[in-house]
Symmetry: C2
Subunit: 292 residues, 2 copies
């Protein structure tokens, strides 16, 4: 099947905003006009051999990862995670203890945020392990930050160093829930996304949905120490930071609030497209992140 | 891995009601105390080779089935389906059109109830097809009907004939959303469940959670015409109606409201256990429904 993004683009043509749906599929979470207060909802799945490797990774680590991916979506919207439901498709060969460890991994990740696991569906099958989590978030008085609010002249920030998550960080990252909430509360952040697909691709999502462009300052992009530990390959360290994906840091536009440890890596422009400047030269940057 | 029900029983020991969770996992849907109005949420997955067969069933029919299973959970609680999110794990070999057909199947089922699909996650993998749907329901002023309200002396009803769904009805059933809502609004229904695991097993869920027993009247149990079309096997027609599963009719206790076409099939007793009476004899009925 062709890229996931083609399919998502098609699904978005099938949807519309209405009395219930304030913000439809296509952001980190959908925003629903629920009686009382906006309700945010989203879902993420992890597949054996794609997002984890059941030979290498423990069931507890797999459970933690899928919950943390969902919590990272809450971080990107600046909302508070409140409740979650999950499904597990279990290979027929695994034990009850293996299933319990997945559940305990979900709880390891969710409990620190008082996010309750309130339901689920489990089934054994002659296939490989699939775990999904659907998360419900509350705006709790703070307007959710979307991907479509970036304005020309906004600065562009990232909350931590990028690249090389494949060495293990993609399983063990901490979702930036409190930081996302602080950024949303500041009133000076205009758009936000969590870096799951890679900086180049996730930045292009913000630009496409905001109808703007962006220029990255190559010298400012923070490269994670993991990149130096990667086996030699075709990508430069900067290319790893630009394209690797699964960093789960926040990328945001506007003005960083005082005291926020975010790193300024570029600016938003009226001219469309994503560009990178180094030593006075400007080049077009094609999104090359991971489709997963 | 051992039966799904052992795992669910264990998960329930890990959970508790709290300020958010009015009714935790273990019913058709969880009930959350959301600002404004109770929010109902649940999730269901369908797995290739377990709940459908991708060789026999079209992607559109598969999409319809998983959405209808979730709508049936709304029916069982007497709530209104409002929004859904879904995931699809797609075999790498399938086309974009195949993925679109799954989505359109979800829409076929959801649209008649104004239930909006507001988000999702799609990924290709070297495995078999998995589709999940999480559904959000609103109580909209009517107290949700749970599995734990049955009282000794209540009558026991089913909304249609049972058995033989494997011939095709398990893919094409209509969820009893309006009927479930009517029953919840009546004020005379004390407990309700949708028949997915089979009458004997689903009735035992009501009895266990209500702390009661039940006596079925064998002569009153409606047997679906499909049962006569099944290939010869070990089960009698009555046994098919008692144990086959995936009927997606509603089973409820209390008093059926006037004009409701439900069939009275037994009564709730103080004495625990599920029993069946035929010709003056009473026998214990062990749950033998389908674990899926």
């Amino acid at each position: 099947m062709p890229g996931e993004f083609d399919f998502i683009a098609w699904v978005r043509t099938q949807q519309s905003s209405d009395a219930l749906v304030q913000l439809p599929a296509g952001d980190d979470l959908a925003v629903l006009r629920w009686p009382g207060e906006p309700l945010l909802v989203g879902v993420d799945q992890v597949l054996d051999g794609v997002h984890f490797d059941s030979v290498l990774h423990s069931p507890r680590a797999i459970g933690r990862k899928v919950m943390n991916r969902n919590l990272s979506d809450c971080a990107a919207m600046g909302c508070l995670p409140a409740a979650a439901v999950g499904t597990v498709a279990l290979p027929s060969s695994v034990t009850m203890d293996y299933a319990k460890e997945i559940y305990l991994g979900l709880r390891d990740a969710a409990d620190p945020y008082d996010c309750r696991i309130v339901g689920g569906d489990t089934g054994a099958w002659p296939g490989k392990l699939v775990v999904t989590v659907t998360i419900l978030g509350t705006s709790a008085g703070v307007r959710p930050i979307t991907r479509h609010g970036a304005k020309p002249g906004d600065a562009l920030y990232v909350t931590g160093p990028l690249g090389g998550s494949i060495l293990g960080r993609h399983m063990t990252f901490e979702p930036r829930v409190q930081l996302g909430r602080t950024l949303a509360q500041s009133g000076t952040v205009t758009a936000m996304i969590d870096l799951s697909d890679g900086l180049s691709r996730d930045l292009s999502h913000i630009c496409d949905q905001s109808g703007v462009g962006a220029v990255l300052d190559a010298a400012a992009i923070p490269i994670h120490a993991d990149v130096a530990r990667l086996p030699p390959g075709k990508r430069t360290p900067l290319e790893h930071a630009l394209h690797d994906g699964e960093d789960y840091e926040l990328l945001f536009t506007g003005v960083a609030p005082p005291g926020c440890a975010a790193i300024r890596i570029g600016r938003i422009t009226r001219e469309p497209g994503v560009w990178i400047e180094r030593g006075g030269n400007r080049e077009r940057l094609e999104p090359r992140g991971w489709e997963h």
